[in-house]
Symmetry: C3
Subunit: 253 residues, 3 copies
Amino acid sequence: MIALFTDFGLEGPYTGQVKAVLAQEAPGVAVIDLFADAPFARPQPCAYLLAAYALWFPPGTVVLAVVDPGVGSARAAAVVEADGRVYVGPDNGLFELVLRRAQAARCWRLTWRPQTLSASFHGRDLFAPAAARLARGEPPAALAKPAALGRYPEWPDELPQVVYIDRFGNAMTGLRAASLPSRARLDAAGRRLRRARTFSAVAPGAAFWYENANGLAEIAVNGGSAAAVLGLAVGDPVTASPGSGVRVAARPA
Amino acid sequence: MIALFTDFGLEGPYTGQVKAVLAQEAPGVAVIDLFADAPFARPQPCAYLLAAYALWFPPGTVVLAVVDPGVGSARAAAVVEADGRVYVGPDNGLFELVLRRAQAARCWRLTWRPQTLSASFHGRDLFAPAAARLARGEPPAALAKPAALGRYPEWPDELPQVVYIDRFGNAMTGLRAASLPSRARLDAAGRRLRRARTFSAVAPGAAFWYENANGLAEIAVNGGSAAAVLGLAVGDPVTASPGSGVRVAARPA
Amino acid sequence: MIALFTDFGLEGPYTGQVKAVLAQEAPGVAVIDLFADAPFARPQPCAYLLAAYALWFPPGTVVLAVVDPGVGSARAAAVVEADGRVYVGPDNGLFELVLRRAQAARCWRLTWRPQTLSASFHGRDLFAPAAARLARGEPPAALAKPAALGRYPEWPDELPQVVYIDRFGNAMTGLRAASLPSRARLDAAGRRLRRARTFSAVAPGAAFWYENANGLAEIAVNGGSAAAVLGLAVGDPVTASPGSGVRVAARPA
C-alpha cells in the first residue's frame, strides 16, 4: 500500500499525475489518499500531522509525503525507514517527528534520478517513481545512500498549535492527547476548552476538545465549525493548562 | 463493488482511511465514491438521495453509507439487504427510503465489533471492515443479528425539499420526477418553474426543473447556478403544483 | 490506463458514477483523475489544457474527455486516435488542438449507443462505456464510423489566455513555453511578468511566469496566489512581448 500525504489537492492535474506514475510503475499496489490538503508549503505542522496519521497504517506501507516549498532548490530528497514503514519525500523537516518518535529508524538520501525531471513537480517526477520502486520491494539502498537528514531539535515534541482544519471546521492540534493530563483544558483563541469524549457528549453549539481518532487533541464545536466560531487557523497557538506535561525541550534523535 | 455514500469529504484523512481499510480487508474489490459530500449530519435528506442513487448500482453492490451525527452515542449499527444490494451504516433513518421502496428487504443489527473502536470514527473502525466482509461474500448473519430498524413513518414518500446542491449549483429535490405530472410546476424560492428535458432546451439564464440522470426532480439554471440565482439551500421547501400526486401520508413498511 | 478529463468535480455523484461504469466494463484498468475541474462548459480553454496534459500520458492511454455544454442537443460524439492515444468525448472543439498538433490522427463519429441514455449525463451513459470498450482493446471501428470532426480553424495554435487556475492560484495559459522566446515577458492584468525557472528563484511575493511541468507558460506568485494578487480568471488575455512567435493564424489540419 502506498499512502499519499501532500498539499497537491485532489482536483487539478497534480495528484492524478502522481497516481498515473504509481499505476505504471507499481501496478496492482493500492494507493490511498491520506491527506491531499496538508498545510500548503508548511513542513512543520505537516510533520506533526504526518507522524500522527502514518502510525495508523500497517507496517510495510510506503508513505509518499510531499510538502515541498523548496522544490527546484538544492534541498535533498530523503528516504526514511521507521518502525517498518518507508517514507519518501523532501528533506525539509517533514519527517522530523516520525524520526523522533520511532523505535528504530534509518535514513538515506535519494540518489536515483529519473531521465527527465521538471523543475517544479518532483512529486510526480522523482518521489512517485521512487515510492513505486520501494513499494515493489526494492531496498532503499538500491535508490539511495545512507545519510543523516536535516534535524530540527528546536521543534518541540508536541506542537502547541493548530496543524490542520478539516472541512467541518474541526481544528487538529500538534498535541497528542496522550501527552495531556486527562482533565487538561486547552486555551485557544481566548477560550478555555474542556475535554469531552465525543461530539454527542456536549450540548449543541458547545466548543470542546477531544482525542481524535488518530490520537491528536482536536478542537471542535458540536454541530458547528470550530474554525469559524473560534476564528482558528493553522499555526494559531493552543496551550494546555494546567500541567500539560508537554515537553518543550526537544530530544535529539 | 463497494459504493461510498458519506459526508466525510474527499480531502482530509477520512475517506482515505476508510479506503485503506477496504483495500486491506477486501483487496481487489472496486471502491467507488458515490457521494463524499452528502448533506452533513442530516440523515433525512440523505435518505432520499441515497435511495435514488443506490438503485443505479447493480445488484451485489455493497453500499457503505455513513452520515452519522450520533457517532459515539448509543445509536445502533445496521445492515440492510434490499433488492439484491447490501447496505451498512448507522441506524438513524438513512435507510428509511431504501427500505420503504424495496420489493424485498431484510434488516440486521450489526453485532460484530473491531478490536479497537474509536469514539468518533465508526466509518473507519466499524462500518468499513463490516462492508469489506460483506463484499468478500460473508453473509449478514455472520456479522449481525436479525432486527427491526428504527422507522420514520412520518417521513413522506417524496420529500418536498432540496436534498443536495451540486458544484454547479443545481438543486436536487427529494421528489422523484416520475411521481410528478408531466406538466407539473415546481415552486421554490418564490418562483414557479417549468419542466424542460435538458439544459440546452431552455434559454441561457433561464431557471427550470428537469428529471436528472437518476430520476430526481432537479432545479437548474442554464449556464448558471440555481442555488445562487434562486438562493436555494439544502432543506428549502419545494412544492409541486398543480396536482403533484406526491403522497404525503407515509406507507409503513 | 484511462485518464479522465472533465468538469464534473470529484465530489457529488458524477465522477463516481463514471468510475462505477469503468470498473464494471473495464475491470482491472487503472483509472486516473487528470482534471475533474476543467473550465466548466468551456471547450476552447479545455482544448489547450487537454492537448498539453494528454501528451504526458503513455501511448495506449484512453482519454475520456467530457466538457459538454451541448449535452442533450444534437452535437455528435467523437473518437480520436492521435499519436497512439485514443480520445472519446463530445465533438465540440475539445479535441481541436490534439488533432492539430498530432503527427498522425484519425477520427470517428461514435455510433454505438447504450440501452438507456439519459438526457443530461452522457459522460456516464455513453462516453464511459465507450471508453471502457476502447480500453479493453476494441478498435474504434467497432463502435464508430470514420468521419471528420467539427474543426475550428479560427482558434490560434497558442491561446493567449488563462486556461486554468489551480488551487494555489497559479494561472496556466494556453501558450506553450516552447513557443515563446526565452526572454519573453508576459503581459497579464496590466502587469509585465518576467520568466523564472521555478518558485524558489524569485523573491517571496514576486509575480513571474515559468514553464510548468507540462510545458505551459504559467503565471505564479512565490508564496501567494497569482489569481488573487493579479485578479486573474479563466479567459483573461495574456500576451507575450516582444516577438512572442505565437502564431495567431491557424493551420488547418
